[in-house]
């Protein structure tokens, strides 16, 4: 029932690990965190969603907002997600075409996009 957020640097990337439930009640924390990271100059962000248990459109909206923010600094925001139930909502909303989505963190960190 809670949202956990932890970030660390991995080379030139910043990995934001998200865990728990992202919904209308918890999403503001994720939004603040992304705003804060970009404000501190983190423009190459990998959001690791491996431990996300629930995500709905409010969470998707916050990720879109984050992507716009880093792009305005010529940055990137990619996702790590291997859960079918979550990939499904990216597909239904067409957002698989907008976010680079990786199966594993290694793959995301190797991607040079």
């Amino acid at each position: 029932m809670e949202l956990t957020l932890n970030h660390r640097k991995e080379g030139d990337r910043t990995v934001l690990e998200v865990g728990g439930e992202v919904d209308v009640y918890t999403a503001p924390k994720l939004r603040e965190k992304l705003v804060e990271l970009v404000g501190e100059g983190h423009y190459q962000i990998v959001v690791d969603m491996t431990k996300v248990e629930f995500l709905d459109s409010t969470g998707l909206g916050v990720l879109v907002g984050g992507l716009k923010r880093v792009r305005s600094h010529d940055g990137s925001l990619s996702l790590v997600c291997n859960q079918e139930r979550i990939l499904k909502i990216f597909r239904i909303t067409g957002l698989t075409k907008v976010f680079p989505i990786h199966d594993s963190l290694d793959e995301a960190l190797q991607d040079s996009e």
């Binding site: 029932m1 439930e21 919904d23 209308v24 009640y25 629930f54 709905d56 459109s57 409010t58 998707l60 909206g61 916050v62 879109v64 907002g65 716009k68 139930r85 499904k88 909502i89 597909r91 239904i92 909303t93 067409g94 957002l95 075409k97 907008v98």
Partner: protein, 143 residues
């Protein structure tokens, strides 16, 4: 069988409770785990919208979820609010959607996840969704 009803004060803190209750009732009605995930998301979307509609208009009245198995292998969830209501947007192809909009994804998800959904204007908005209990009727992407 009559429905179970959950009446929620219009506070977004209760959206998680709505998901949980509907999910447990659907599981008891025999819904498969994978399908429960679809149900959970759609309930979250419609409950969020109903609560937000009351908040926008400062309505303290509760939003009401009613749910239960239908006679015909489906599980139905109705989410009713007494807010201003809205005209659901036409079904549009994803390709025409501006990806940079942070809103408007909820209705797309409801349409994509439920077997079928009705948006009806009554005292406010009534959203009625149906989900197959087994996986065979998995809703098609609504576009």
């Amino acid at each position: 069988m009559t429905d179970v009803e959950l009446h929620l004060p219009p506070d977004v803190r209760y959206v998680g409770l709505a998901r949980l209750v509907v999910m447990v009732a659907a599981r008891q009605a025999g819904m498969a785990d994978e399908r429960l995930e679809d149900l959970k998301i759609a309930v979250s979307e419609a409950t969020t919208n109903a609560i937000n509609a009351h908040r926008r208009t400062a309505k303290p009245a509760p939003v009401v979820l009613a749910f239960g198995p239908t006679g015909s292998g489906q599980f139905a969830v109705t989410i009713a609010d007494t807010g201003p209501g809205f005209e659901p947007p036409p079904l549009e192809a994803h390709s025409s959607r501006d990806w940079s909009l942070e809103n408007g994804l909820g209705v797309t998800l409801i349409r994509g996840l439920a077997d079928d959904v009705e948006f009806r204007r009554e005292a406010g908005m009534v959203v009625k969704m149906r989900f197959s209990v087994d996986l065979t009727g998995d809703g098609a992407v609504g576009d």
